[in-house]
């Protein structure tokens, strides 16, 4: 896929390495940039069709596993007593965590007026949406009687009973629902002007019609824009605390329980840091290939990779610190049960190898990001991100499972082995996630064009006034 009419930027690595690559490289006139970015959507690459087909197949696997579970019962999973939660909840926490980077980028960087946000925020927001969709599947599926999921919602029923709001699970329902809705609104509001552009540039009439509907009749009057700016800013301001709260609440699923290994006050910050950590890793996982095949090197420059690398390093250290605090407080507490879980079961128990995998993936691998060279080479960054993905999933798994498998009563200690259905569900959601993301690339302007143009002029101004 060529980068259109524009000259490919020359990457200058080595001793004379540019300390601060630009947020945007020269991208020609407004018209040029518009046509180029819209063109990527209007004239999709050939491989996209096949990629969609493959991921659709994976989604089929997901549907199969879901149907089997619903018809037969949770027994087809590997769960048991004491390990009543395993893969499903691990996947839930992992996916919802991945979502966080999207909102983080959109919201926090917007509030902090970070210029590098513009090129990648729509990617990230889309990623958030689709990740939250995956996450939402699991709490439903893992119920014994999923067809009664709505009993967690307060509605006046003939039974006369209500949900029990001391349970973190009811908090989850509200938190995840809010997160999904706000993410959609935020994403969509940002999208409207570009949909209008699609409406105006699409070659075929039917496409114009469709985009026209989604563009809501946007025509960019000064009044439109002023309201839009205020609203977008407000949503950003609301989404920022939301990011922090959602994963804090998810972490309370464990923190409010008295299971040794769960019962810990460090969990909320620990989980949020981990979420953003894994989220940025997922951004890299998606952005690097897309940047390459769509030739976006001038829009998504080394500056972006560099900054994301720094974010990974920072959040990685927060996670590492949480590990240390956890283990230290377990040791300091003098609590027999906690000490056993943290100091014996996790590092040296039957799941010990997971513990060391986690350390290698989440604590060791990111240290390479101290080097600017690493941060700016897409391939290396991509592999580190992959390691972090694996590490974060594993962390959630062993956090959830080892704690249950080594509870208070040694008589009920037991192990968990995932069944084929468990694995299918995980792989299935991965496929479904990619499927949705490819659809997004196929139909939606995946770089915020109008914002990009505004940014371009802004930068031009800056240059003029030195």
């Amino acid at each position: 896929m060529s980068a259109g009419a524009l000259p490919r930027p020359t990457r200058a690595y080595g001793p004379g390495l540019d300390p601060e690559p630009p947020v945007l490289r020269d991208i020609g006139s407004d018209e040029a940039i518009t046509d180029e970015l819209l063109g990527k959507v209007l004239h999709p690459p050939k491989w996209l069709k096949w990629a969609l087909l493959v991921t659709a197949g994976g989604t089929g696997l997901l549907l199969l596993a879901v149907a089997y579970t619903l018809v037969t019962g949770i027994g087809v999973w590997g769960n048991d007593i004491p390990i009543a939660w395993a893969f499903a909840i691990t996947n839930f926490v992992w996916w919802i965590g991945i979502g966080h980077a999207g909102t983080f980028i959109s919201a926090f960087l917007l509030l902090l007026e970070q210029k590098w946000r513009t090129s990648i925020n729509r990617f990230a927001e889309a990623m958030t949406l689709f990740a939250v969709v995956q996450a939402g599947l699991f709490p439903l599926l893992h119920m014994g009687r999923p067809w009664f999921f709505y009993w967690l919602v307060p509605y006046p029923s003939t039974m006369g009973v209500w949900p029990q709001f001391r349970s973190a699970l009811t908090w989850d329902v509200v938190a995840v629902a809010t997160y999904l809705l706000v993410s959609i609104l935020f994403w969509y509001l940002g999208l409207v002007p570009d949909l209008a552009a699609m409406r105006d540039r699409a070659p075929e009439r039917w496409r114009r019609r469709v985009y026209a509907v989604f563009a809501l009749g946007w025509y960019g009057s000064a009044r439109n824009w002023s309201r839009w700016r205020i609203g977008y800013g407000l949503l950003g301001g609301l989404a920022a605390p939301l990011v922090v709260s959602v994963h804090s609440i998810v972490s309370s699923d464990f923190a409010i329980a008295l299971v040794p290994g769960w019962h810990s006050t460090i969990f909320p910050p620990y989980f949020v840091a981990g979420a953003i950590f894994s989220g940025f890793a997922m951004v890299v996982t998606l952005l690097v290939p897309a940047r390459h095949v769509y030739g976006l090197q001038h829009v998504v420059t080394e500056r972006h990779l560099d900054n994301i690398g720094k974010m990974l390093l920072a959040t990685g250290w927060m996670v590492l610190w949480s590990y240390v605090v956890e283990i230290w407080s377990a040791w300091y507490s003098g609590d027999t049960f906690e000490q056993y879980v943290y100091l014996v079961a996790r590092p040296f128990g039957p799941y010990g190898f997971l513990f060391w995998t986690v350390l290698a993936c989440n604590c060791l691998a990111p240290q390479a990001l101290w080097w600017r060279r690493v941060r700016r080479s897409p391939l290396v960054l991509w592999f580190i991100a992959g390691a972090i993905q694996v590490g974060m999933w594993t962390e959630r798994f062993f956090l959830i499972v080892t704690s249950q498998s080594r509870g208070f009563l040694p008589s009920s200690w037991n192990l968990y082995r995932p069944s084929i259905v468990d694995v299918s569900l995980l792989l299935g959601t991965l496929a479904f996630f990619c499927f949705l993301f490819l659809l997004f690339l196929r139909f939606v302007p995946f770089v915020a064009i109008s914002e990009l143009k505004a940014l371009r002029h802004e930068l031009a101004e800056e240059k003029r006034h030195g």
Partner: protein
């Protein structure tokens, strides 16, 4: 007695901004601009009113929080009190998450709805779309609309219109067209 609206086409934020300020100096009251991306500086000369959206969002957010808190209290402590783990019927600390999330949800919905209302969206069509070349708005065209220009045929009016057109062209308008309000500002 009808009126004419001048529609001037520019091709850069700078030119339209200058033109807008100039026209404002000439004392034309009702101006509007259509641009491919937000230009904050335009809002002053165009006299875009300050939005009350922030307050609306705050109020709705607080309202949602209050409602959520009332639901928690009423369902668990009043309507169907149960002994759950020997805990108090009203466990305020455990109410925090849901109340907070509800506030965010309410506020966010209000913000979104507010934008649509404030921007008078959604709408299926706008007369400006009929304007020749207007489809480039979302790409790289900037339009300045000057209203309240009388279309009376007396000499004064004629002169005024001529002056405005001349001024706009001097400010770098690629084209200056006139239309009736019915055509462009339904």
């Amino acid at each position: 007695m009808g009126e004419t609206i001048f529609v001037a086409e520019f091709d850069s934020p700078a030119t339209i901004l200058a033109a807008a300020e100039r026209v404002r100096e000439l004392g034309f009251g009702e101006l509007d601009a259509v641009t491919p991306f937000p230009i904050a500086a335009l809002e002053r000369p165009l006299r875009v009113g300050r939005s009350r959206l922030r307050w609306a969002v705050l109020l709705v957010g607080l309202g949602a929080a209050a409602l959520a808190f009332w639901i928690l209290h009423w369902t668990n402590a009043v309507d169907y009190p149960l002994n759950v783990g020997g805990r108090p019927l009203d466990s305020y600390p455990t109410d925090v998450p849901i109340v907070f999330e509800s506030a965010v949800l309410g506020a966010a919905s209000a913000a979104f709805a507010g934008v649509l209302l404030g921007a008078r969206l959604p709408r299926l069509h706008h007369p400006l779309f009929e304007l020749e070349g207007f489809e480039r708005t979302t790409v790289d065209r900037f339009w300045l609309l000057v209203a309240n220009v009388t279309d009376a045929t007396d000499a004064a009016s004629e002169e005024e219109r001529g002056a405005l057109r001349a001024e706009l062209e001097r400010m770098g308008a690629r084209s200056v067209r006139t239309a009736s309000r019915q055509e462009v500002r339904p």
